[in-house]
Structure formats: structure tokens, C-alpha cells
């Protein structure tokens, strides 16, 4: 019974320790800049297709659904406003982060998990390298740099998706759509839209690394770590999204 209560607290403690060590290593030598760049390519550039598709259809479906609600008030010409705000504040950061959790958090967990069960992590330590510094910190930095950029891209592509629906399905003039899109945004929205992916990046990378590094029990253990990391990262993203949203809404942003 006590073990069931103890387990989540131990997990949280270990996660905090990993986070602390990964952050401390950002300033410590040696710096593995080649690994950071390789991870940026893998995590960032490699995620482009999935982010573009997600953004495009999220924007398109928002325009489609919102126009239905707005039509009830005769405000269909404000579709751009709703698409813009919901994309920049919520859908862009959250959907991109969830896609990245599915692709990268699980990818990191399976890669590090395989290394763990085949003793490559031990070999790394035996050969004079700190696995946190060599494996965790580069993945954390690469995700923290790439996720906000991918979110900006997803936002723009989403707006384009919204435009496509507004123009060809709702018969709204393009100029009106784009003008409502730009006018709707305030600094509060932009700040929120960029801060969220930055925070989510730490969740995606560190949760993946955490589950990967604690994998045990052969290939079955790696599979378990992969699934757990994706589920944990996705749930944490949604929970933290709520609290970040609450802070920004509480600040009086429209």
C-alpha cells in the first residue's frame, strides 16, 4: 500500500532531479553543440510535415465550425477574428505540442530506453561522458528552440487554412478575412502563444528523456517507456496549458 503512495512522489522527485541536472548542464562544459544541431534537425525539421498538416486542418476546421456559430448572430464576417485568436492562443501551441509529444517524446523515450537496456548508457558513463549532458541537455535545448518556431509556422499555416475555407466555402472576401485576422491579435495573445510552446518543449523533451532513462526489462520495457512518455507528456501539456491560460486571462487580456 505504502509503495503505491510512494511511487508517484519518487517519480516526481526523480523528474525534478533530472530537470535540475539538465538545466545546470546548459552552462557546464563540455558543450555538445553538434548534438544540439543534430537534434534540432531531427526534432524540428523532421516534424515539419506533421506540423504543417495539423496547422492547416486545425485552421480550416475552426473557420468551418466558427462560421456556423457566428452566422447565428450575423457575424460571419468575423470568422478571421475567431480563427486567429483561437489558433495563436490555444490550438497552435497545444496541437503542435501534442503532435510533438506523439512524435518526439515517444521517439526520445524509445531511443534512450533502447540505449539503457543495451547498456549503452552505462558504457557512456564508463567512457567518461555524463549521459544527462550528452543526451538530455541537447534534446531539451533543441526542443526549446524548435517548438516555438514550429508553433509560429503552425499558426500561419492554420490562418491560411482558415482563409481557404472562408474564401471558397463561406464566400468571404480575402481582404476582410486577413484584416480581421491581424486586427484580432494583441500582445497578450502573441506572448501567450510563444510562451506556451517554450514551456511545452521542456515537458516533451524531459518527459521523453525521463521515461527513456528509467526503462528496464528489455524490449518490453522500452515499449512501456515509449507509451508512458507519450501519455504523460500529452496530459501534462493539457494541464499546464490550463494554468498558463488562466494566468494570461487573469491578467485581463482580451
Amino acid at each position: 500500500m505504502l509503495d503505491y503512495i510512494k511511487e508517484p512522489f519518487v517519480a516526481i522527485q526523480e523528474f525534478y532531479l533530472l530537470t535540475g541536472r539538465a538545466l545546470r548542464n546548459v552552462a557546464a562544459r563540455p558543450h555538445y553543440s553538434d548534438d544540439v544541431i543534430a537534434q534540432m534537425d531531427l526534432i524540428g525539421v523532421g516534424s515539419l510535415p506533421i506540423v504543417i498538416l495539423t496547422g492547416l486542418f486545425a485552421g480550416a476546421v475552426m473557420a468551418l465550425q466558427m462560421s456556423r456559430a457566428l452566422a447565428q448572430y450575423g457575424q460571419q464576417d468575423q470568422t478571421g477574428t475567431l480563427v486567429s485568436i483561437s489558433l495563436v492562443r490555444e490550438l497552435g501551441p497545444v496541437l503542435t505540442a501534442l503532435m510533438m509529444a506523439g512524435r518526439n517524446s515517444s521517439g526520445i523515450a524509445s531511443e534512450l530506453g533502447s540505449m539503457k537496456v543495451t547498456e549503452q548508457i552505462d558504457a557512456m558513463r564508463a567512457l567518461g561522458t555524463d549521459p544527462i549532458q550528452k543526451l538530455v541537455t541537447p534534446r531539451m535545448l533543441a526542443t526549446a528552440f524548435m517548438l516555438p518556431l514550429l508553433t509560429i509556422l503552425a499558426d500561419f499555416i492554420g490562418m491560411f487554412g482558415g482563409w481557404f475555407v472562408s474564401r471558397f466555402f463561406l464566400d468571404l472576401p480575402s481582404q476582410q478575412y486577413w484584416s480581421t485576422v491581424w486586427r484580432a491579435l494583441e500582445w497578450n495573445d502573441i506572448t501567450q502563444g510563444l510562451l506556451k510552446p517554450f514551456v511545452f518543449a521542456f515537458i516533451i523533451s524531459l518527459v521523453g528523456c525521463y521515461y527513456g532513462l528509467r526503462a528496464s526489462g528489455g524490449t518490453q520495457g522500452v515499449g512501456r517507456a515509449t507509451t508512458q512518455s507519450m501519455v504523460a507528456a500529452s496530459v501534462l501539456i493539457l494541464i499546464i496549458d490550463f494554468f498558463l491560460g488562466k494566468i494570461f486571462v487573469g491578467q485581463g487580456g482580451s
Partner: protein, 274 residues
């Protein structure tokens, strides 16, 4: 015995390690002196691998003290351990070569990453080639571990362990899962490394013939093969056998004592010589 007066390279003093309340090592004490060979035997789960990992500082003891080259490593921080580990080479059970790196990068890894090994960049490749030549592997620098056979991977991993020429070498089940011919080649390489570089060697194995080769054969540089140590010339370095059972060290001594033991557990590992 003369060897007892030598400097202990590795010393375990009442070391215990446990995982989730299950003891993996229980009150283990021994000391391995310079130039000595130790053959560690025991059933699966008896604590052989944990013993090597504890010696390397990869596993922290719950109680007791581990001394490597006279320094207590039991309470050392990870970064302090790097310096000690640069004097130790380890062959992991499944080779543990880095999948994402080719053989050249794998073997050069300790030269480039161990802070206390100051290897000039222009010497890295020649040393890698030398280490691969030592294990009789040529022309595979560009290959990835997945492209090699089990025996070749094991040899490449030995090359990675010896490339820095560490004075203490730990081999975890070097012949596990290999056919008898390849297994013999691997043990011959271990004996060659031990005799040419005068290293202190710990070998974990469940094959008695591996221990027998280490204890009774030596490397002949003239014909590049092994020969019985009894055939005149230099004797084989002192070899002691250790047997672990459920984390406890139940036997420590020379081969003759091991073979005379009446303990049924120990007898299972021993194939008596005629």
C-alpha cells in the same frame, strides 16, 4: 604469497548492493592486486555483473567501501569518477557499442571524451587503427555495429575498452552467446591484452574453459597464439577464481582449490582436468 604484498588495484570491503530490497551483492570483500587475473563465476543473477558495475562506480554500494587504485570511489561524485574510470576498461555483456556511431567513432570515443586522456587529434585515428589491429579487425572503420557479426562486435568492443591502454580491465561475460571457436578467439585476445600490457584483469564468465585458458595459458608474441604456461619460459600471471552465489562470495582461491571443492554449487561450474 608474494602477490599479497603488491598494491591492491581493486578492493571491496564488505560491499553490499541491493535492488528493491533484493540483495545483489551481500557483504563481499576481496582485493585484486596489480597484474593479477580474477575469474568470477556464478549462476545468472548471482551478482557478477553488479560486482563489475560497482567496481566501475556505475552502481553505488548500499554499504561497504570500494577502493580503486587506492581511492575510495563509493561516495565520489560522477564527475570525480571520470578520472578513475579513464584507468579502467570495460567490456559490457552485449558489447554496448553505440548503435548510432560507426566503429571508428565507437573506438575513438574514450580517446575524445575522457577528459584525463589527452590524445592529440592527429593521434586518434592511428590509435584506433592500432586497437582494431590488436583485436584482428581491419577495414571496418566505416561500418556500423549492426552490420557486424556477434563475434566482431565483441572484438570491436574490446578494442574500445583497450584503446586508452587502461591498467585495469573488466570483462562481463565476454564469450556469452558465441560459438566455441569465436569464444576461444575472444579469450585469446583477453590473454593477449593481459600479457602484453601487464593489465589487472577481471573476467566474469560461466564457462569454466574460459577461466582455464586465462589461468594456464599465456600469449606467445612470436607465433601470435596461446601456449600452455607450464611449457617453460614465463609463468602465467597469478589467477584466482571467485564464485558468487545469490550475491555472496562463497569461494575465492586458485584453480586447484576450486577443483577440489566438494560444494555441489561450485562443482557445477568446474570441469575437472584429467
Amino acid at each position: 604469497m608474494a602477490a599479497d604484498t603488491q598494491t591492491p588495484v581493486l578492493r571491496f570491503d564488505r560491499v553490499s548492493v541491493s535492488f528493491d530490497d533484493t540483495p545483489a551483492l551481500a557483504d563481499v570483500s576481496f582485493q585484486a592486486c596489480e597484474g593479477e587475473s580474477r575469474v568470477i563465476m556464478g549462476a545468472t543473477g548471482s551478482g557478477k555483473t553488479v560486482l563489475l558495475k560497482t567496481a566501475l562506480g556505475l552502481q553505488r554500494p548500499d554499504s561497504g567501501t570500494v577502493y580503486v587504485f587506492g581511492r575510495d570511489i563509493s561516495r565520489m561524485q560522477e564527475r570525480e569518477l571520470f578520472e578513475i574510470r579513464s584507468k579502467m576498461g570495460m567490456l559490457f555483456q552485449e558489447s554496448a557499442l553505440f548503435d548510432s556511431l560507426n566503429i571508428e567513432d565507437n573506438v575513438s570515443y574514450p580517446l575524445l571524451n575522457q577528459l584525463s586522456i589527452h590524445c592529440p587529434p592527429e593521434e586518434v585515428l592511428p590509435r584506433v587503427e592500432e586497437a582494431l589491429k590488436f583485436v584482428e579487425l581491419d577495414g571496418i572503420l566505416e561500418k556500423f555495429p549492426s552490420e557486424l557479426s556477434g563475434g566482431m562486435r565483441r572484438r570491436a568492443a574490446i578494442a574500445r575498452a583497450v584503446v586508452t591502454q587502461p591498467p585495469l580491465l573488466l570483462y562481463d561475460s565476454p564469450t556469452a552467446g558465441l560459438d566455441p571457436i569465436t569464444a576461444h578467439t575472444i579469450v585469446a585476445l583477453i590473454v593477449k591484452e593481459r600479457d602484453l600490457n601487464k593489465t589487472t584483469t577481471l573476467i566474469v564468465t560461466y564457462r569454466y574453459q574460459d577461466g582455464n585458458l586465462v589461468a594456464n595459458f599465456r600469449y606467445n608474441p612470436e607465433n601470435g597464439g596461446l601456449e600452455p604456461a607450464a611449457k617453460g619460459g614465463e609463468a602465467a600471471p597469478r589467477t584466482l577464481f571467485m564464485v558468487l552465489r545469490e550475491g555472496r562470495l562463497i569461494f575465492e582461491g586458485p584453480q586447484s582449490e576450486l577443483e577440489e571443492s566438494q560444494d555441489p554449487y561450485i562443482s557445477k561450474f568446474v570441469k575437472r582436468r584429467g
